[in-house]
């Protein structure tokens, strides 16, 4: 706790007071590891979405024969970690990289403009690059407001919000996450496309009404998740490779505490559950509302994020993060956004504008297809990283 306070105070101070030593590498391997892990899991989720026979909601899962039905359910459930981790760590990395740039002499104005640019580029990528991969009707462009656009919007907000003190950002983030279920947007008209789309973007994900103005990842409450990540990033700035291992214990405590809170919320089956538990079966306990994410959903998943980060720290105390399997994972984590875009097009496995195939894979063939795609993606990420290294000042710096 004292270190945490010290670091937060340090980050509340003018940037030039922050030592350059703290940011000499600008990367934390366990962050890349965590992102890499969820990227791999996410790749499974999307491969199964494109090609899986029983992927697409519990109704389809219920059609799967035993024991596949359990496998399909759990294979979807574990992927819930992806988006919260992705967005949380986006906030973390943003805080770390911004602090590093400020320490290296970048002005506050330039730092904010850079964040703003990144946000706009992400929104652009969502609409013009990512949505083409999601498309099921032959469109190359759509207005689907999904996770990349959501992160972009949050970046835009943080280009200004970052000037707030850490405790205010923490308070606002917690308030949003814990109270968004009470938010009512009835005052925004829903019978016109723009009003509906605004509601979708703010808080009411919807994939059907007013097509193509649809979306899955509303800014609220995800901006709160990014805010927590931002505060964690500020905390992280006080650590380097020599003492970052001290975070293992706090991360484990936070992770298990979040899981315990999830259990309590799920047990009482009221506040914090956008989807109520209907009975005491395992499925009902684990079936959480993701669109938008309930408090229970975020407790479970962000608790898992903390545990994965702790595992990463433990692993890197013993193993070289750049070799073997860990190197494979951290490479994907270092190029997370590129991986995200690339994996969609690789696993989609059809040309832009082409309609979906009727071919659907069973569980084992789906797993094989997923595993087969990972080395391909790893190679792409390695090459992309080299390319980015050769052109550090190009637009690639934002991706």
């Amino acid at each position: 706790m004292p270190l945490f306070i010290t670091v937060l105070n340090k980050m509340s101070s003018p940037a030039h007071e922050v030592s350059r030593n703290d940011y000499k590498s600008g990367r934390y391997d366990f962050i890349d590891f965590t992102r890499g892990v969820v990227m791999i899991v996410m790749a499974w989720d999307h491969l199964a979405g494109f090609w899986g026979k029983y992927k697409g909601g519990k109704t389809l899962i219920d059609r799967a024969p035993f024991p596949q039905v359990f496998a399909w359910f759990m294979s979807r459930f574990i992927t819930h970690y992806c988006a919260p981790t992705f967005i949380f760590l986006a906030g973390t990395v943003l805080a770390v990289s911004t602090a590093r740039r400020l320490a290296l002499g970048q002005t506050q104005t330039d730092a904010s403009v850079r964040i703003l640019k990144r946000g706009l580029i992400l929104v652009f990528l969502q609409y013009f690059v990512v949505n083409g991969a999601w498309d099921k009707q032959g469109d190359l462009f759509s207005y689907l407001f999904c996770v990349i656009a959501c992160i972009g919007a949050c970046f835009i907000i943080f280009s200004v919000a970052r000037f707030l003190p850490p405790n205010i950002i923490l308070a606002l983030s917690l308030l949003i996450i814990m109270n968004h279920q009470f938010l009512k947007l009835d005052w925004i008209p829903n019978n016109v496309w723009w009003g509906h789309y605004i509601r979708v973007i703010i808080h009411e994900p919807n994939e059907v009404d007013w097509y193509p103005f649809t979306g899955r990842y509303p800014v609220i409450p995800w901006v709160g998740v990014m805010g927590l990540g931002w505060v964690f990033g500020l905390l992280l700035n006080g650590y380097d490779s020599s003492n970052v291992g001290r975070l293992v214990k706090p991360l484990l405590i936070v992770g298990f505490l979040a899981k315990a809170l999830w259990f309590i919320i799920r047990f009482f089956n009221g506040y914090g559950n956008l989807r109520l538990r209907m009975d005491d079966s395992l499925w009902e306990w684990l079936w959480l509302a993701k669109y938008p994410p309930s408090l229970g959903f975020l407790l479970w998943t962000l608790g898992g994020t903390a545990l994965i980060m702790a595992i990463g720290l433990i692993l890197f105390e013993r193993f070289n993060p750049s070799k073997g399997g860990l190197g494979f994972i951290t490479t994907l984590g270092r190029t997370a956004l590129f991986f995200y875009i690339a994996h969609l097009w690789v696993y989609r496995f059809r040309l832009p504008g082409a309609l979906p195939s009727d071919i659907k894979l069973d569980f084992i063939p789906s797993v094989i297809a997923w595993l087969a795609g990972l080395p391909v993606l790893w190679q792409l990420c390695v090459r992309y990283e080299r390319l980015k290294g050769r052109h550090p000042n190009s637009i690639l710096q934002y991706i």
Binding site: Q108, A171, L174
Partner: protein, 234 residues
């Protein structure tokens, strides 16, 4: 332009405690001001049906989520819908035709989640008829529904019934949202408009119409708003 950093004071254990207390206090107030809807309080399964038969206007539905499916073996373009639009792009809402120009009857009902064991007994109760012949079980057709129209994390089960008695030779499509967020209700939408229905051959019957209501976590009880008056059988 130079941006000045705002610093409202140092972070201390006390300030962190204040943060937690403020957040928890505001959240508690919110919980107090927003009690769960009464539907979640699982009382005795009193059965209420909301039945609406005539002059149903689709315009009343625009604020709710309605999903649609295309019969197996058909494309959207082949899915001809009587009196209405037939493309998903124009809105799933319109995929079911306009009841104002069709000749069929529409029954719109809801019941508490666990009130009936099956649709046969539910329909018999609702219609006052006995001997309704259930041709397919609840999940018989789900496999054939293109996955592109199923949503992640939403749960629908479609049933098909073939009526007898007053409903002989007519088709009834029943769409059941088995597990609703918050409301814990089951919603049924019946469309009765087809002659010589054969449950195994959609094309023979021209089309399958139907709708289901997603229980929106924020709308709570959408059908209450739509129907407006309850009909409680004695």
């Amino acid at each position: 332009m130079k941006i000045r950093e705002v610093v409202l004071g140092p972070v201390t254990p006390l300030s962190l405690l204040v943060v937690v207390l403020v957040v928890c206090s505001l959240t508690s107030i919110n919980i107090y001001l927003n009690p769960p809807p009464p539907e979640t309080e699982q009382e005795a399964p009193e059965v209420w049906f909301y039945i609406y038969i005539e002059n149903l206007s689709w315009s009343n539905y625009t604020k709710y989520d309605i999903d649609c499916w295309v019969p197996a073996g058909m494309t959207l373009e082949e899915f001809v819908v009587e009196g209405g639009y037939n493309t998903y792009e124009e809105g799933a809402l319109h995929g079911f035709g306009d009841p104002n120009v069709s000749t069929g009857e529409f029954y719109l009902m809801w019941k508490p989640y666990d009130s009936f064991n099956d649709w046969k007994s539910a329909l018999e109760y609702a219609t006052g008829l006995v001997g309704i012949d259930v041709q397919c079980n609840e999940t018989a057709l789900m496999y054939e529904i293109p996955s592109r129209y199923s949503w992640q994390d939403h749960n629908y089960v479609m049933s098909l019934l073939n009526g007898t008695g007053a409903y002989s030779d007519e088709f009834i499509g029943v769409f059941e949202a088995l597990k609703c967020d918050k409301t814990n209700r089951t919603f049924i939408f019946l469309y009765i408009n087809f002659k010589e229905f054969k449950y195994y051959d959609y094309k023979y019957n021209g089309a399958v119409y139907g709708a289901t209501y997603r229980c929106h976590p924020y709308e709570g009880t959408p059908l209450d708003l739509i129907i407006g008056y309850p009909y409680k059988p004695d």
